[in-house]
């Protein structure tokens, strides 16, 4: 099968700090991949390199046939980055909804200003996606009137309305109160069942175990393990993976 995401020999430096060390990984269409690891292991940076919110220092990223070399400059490079961004939807830890726009306007902003989509059509599409995450009833509210879980579900709908091929989730539940995590995870689970390709950086071991097709473990800027969740949680090979799993087990989140 042709992978929809192909990352080859990715390196990322922050100044002298080597945060991603020669990472290569492929993701197949419809696959749900969770990336776990301690904070500072480079998992968020890896995700943000895929849509170039962080510019890779070296290496290559290919998303749905668009190939971009890291560390380049120029007009063509910027155009390729925008092409990649059109193929990826991103959900942030801090939601990052636009506070000066209503929920529906948040959701249709991308299609209208980026794709030049007709407003009426965008609205139809936006409402359908808000419905998908159970947020249609708040479409005329402003973000500051929503709970954290509701905000994150709107953020998911906003990303979906761009009709991306891949969804990237950067710790989508880490900023939420514990009782609000469930509604976001179940929206994500629904999306996974619908066949969306998803890359999820998370601390939610339960979600990784139940929903992911593959779990990737990162430590100190390297991929230390990559296997299906059943095997990973039953027989972690690397002692660092074992420590990570044990810690969450005793914490039982």
């Amino acid at each position: 099968m042709v992978p929809i995401i192909k990352i080859s020999n990715l390196d990322k430096y922050f100044g002298r700090l080597h945060v991603l060390k020669n990472i290569s990984i492929e993701v197949q269409p419809r696959e749900v991949v969770c990336i776990i690891g301690r904070s500072g292991s480079g998992k968020s940076t890896l995700l943000r390199c895929i849509n170039f919110l962080e510019e890779p220092s070296a290496g290559e990223i290919e998303v749905d046939g668009v190939r971009v070399e890291g560390g380049e400059k120029g007009k063509r490079h910027r155009q390729l980055i925008r092409d990649v961004r059109l193929k990826t939807g991103m959900v942030f830890q801090e939601f990052n909804l636009f506070p000066h726009m209503s929920v529906l306007d948040n959701v249709i902003e991308g299609p209208v200003t980026v794709k030049g989509m007709d407003r009426a059509k965008a609205r139809e599409l936006g409402e359908a996606n808000l419905d998908r995450v159970g947020m249609l009833f708040k479409k005329d509210e402003y973000p500051n009137r929503l709970s954290g879980g509701q905000k994150q579900r709107v953020a998911i709908a906003r990303a979906l309305t761009m009709e991306p091929r891949v969804m990237l989730f950067d710790e989508p539940t880490s900023a939420l109160d514990p009782e609000l995590i469930g509604e976001v995870l179940s929206a994500m689970k629904k999306l996974a069942l619908e066949g969306m390709t998803m890359l999820v950086v998370t601390h939610e071991m339960g979600f990784a175990r139940d929903v992911a097709d593959r779990v990737v473990v990162m430590a100190e800027g390297e991929l230390i393990e990559d296997s299906n969740p059943d095997e990973l949680f039953a027989n972690p090979r690397d002692p660092r993976t074992k420590a990570l799993i044990d810690r969450y087990r005793t914490g039982e989140r």
Binding site: R85, T88, M90, F92, N96, L97, H100, G110, P143, A159
Partner: protein, 291 residues
């Protein structure tokens, strides 16, 4: 406390009266009512004191003889004769302030955006402008446009010279407001826009600027109020016949500067009261929204 605020308070007080339900009140409601009552009392007393101070000021200039104290006598005849002439400067004061604030806002926005630029000449131009203007007196800048430029053969109409001087000056100071506004928009907002595929230009106009401007509106209102008063400096050049110029003209000519300046002061005061009130309304509306 400006007067309009007192009226507002009175209206809120009336609402509290009409909404009182018949059911007995809980402890919390009683405490809340007590706090409200205390606050209303405080505001009421402040208003009373204001009225007293105002009456005292009027008394001070009433020219009456109370308990052997002779207060200041103003020439009412002079006031009546020149009221229309001085009030005629209001339009010019408002016009110069409005035009200047528009120029200042534009310059401030450009200077603030220049401060964000990674292109050295643009960044330099912005900081150079702000430094030069803030490093010299406004009074000097005004005279520069009226007196120094004509030496080079550049003679601007009085109003425009004033607008240029005030606009350039306030633009430099207000650039800080817009800079704060722009930096109040978090990095996450830009990232969310970029992740949607927006160009840097669209990110700025659709996402960052609307939020930054909302942040900048209340302080811009303050600057506008300050500018209506600083516009009086332009009178010194003698070319713009606004409030201050008219007051000094008739005051000096008839040796009645006391009356003339008091009249001008009252006009400025009332103008700033009205503007402050309008600004508090705008601010209230903005904060109701969606930060």
């Amino acid at each position: 406390m400006p007067l309009p605020f007192i009226f507002w308070e009175w209206r809120v007080g009336m609402n509290l009266f009409t909404k009182r339900p018949d059911t007995p009140k809980s402890q919390a409601e009683l405490i809340y009512d007590a706090i409200q009552r205390k606050e209303r009392q405080f505001r009421g007393n402040v208003a009373l004191s204001w009225i007293f101070l105002l009456l005292f000021l009027i008394f001070l200039f009433s020219g009456s003889d109370v308990l052997g104290i002779q207060t200041i006598q103003l020439d009412t005849e002079f006031i009546k004769e020149n009221l229309v002439f001085i009030a005629g400067g209001l339009g010019e004061t408002i016009r110069i302030s409005l035009l200047s604030i528009m120029l200042a806002t534009l310059l401030a926005l450009l200077a603030a955006l220049g401060r964000l630029s990674t292109f050295p000449p643009v960044y330099a131009l912005s900081t150079f402008y702000v430094s030069l203007i803030r490093g010299t007196p406004l009074y000097l800048q005004i005279f520069f446009f009226f007196l120094a430029l004509p030496q080079l053969g550049i003679i601007l109409p009085g109003l425009w010279a004033g607008v240029l001087a005030l606009g350039l000056n306030y633009g430099a100071y207000m650039s800080e407001i817009f800079r704060a506004g722009l930096s109040s928009v978090g990095k996450g907002q830009r990232e969310a826009a970029m992740a949607l595929g927006m160009t840097p230009g669209k990110t700025m106009t659709r996402i960052v600027l609307p939020q930054a401007l909302r942040f900048a509106i209340p302080p811009t209102g303050n600057e506008f109020i300050a500018m209506t008063k600083d516009s009086a400096l332009v009178s010194a050049t003698g070319f713009v016949h606004e409030l201050m110029w008219r007051a000094t003209k008739v005051g000096r000519a008839q040796f009645h500067s006391l009356e003339a300046l008091i009249m001008a002061a009252m006009f400025y005061w009332v103008m700033t009261l009205i503007l402050s009130y309008l600004q508090s309304r705008i601010e209230a509306r903005l904060s109701k929204g969606d930060r």
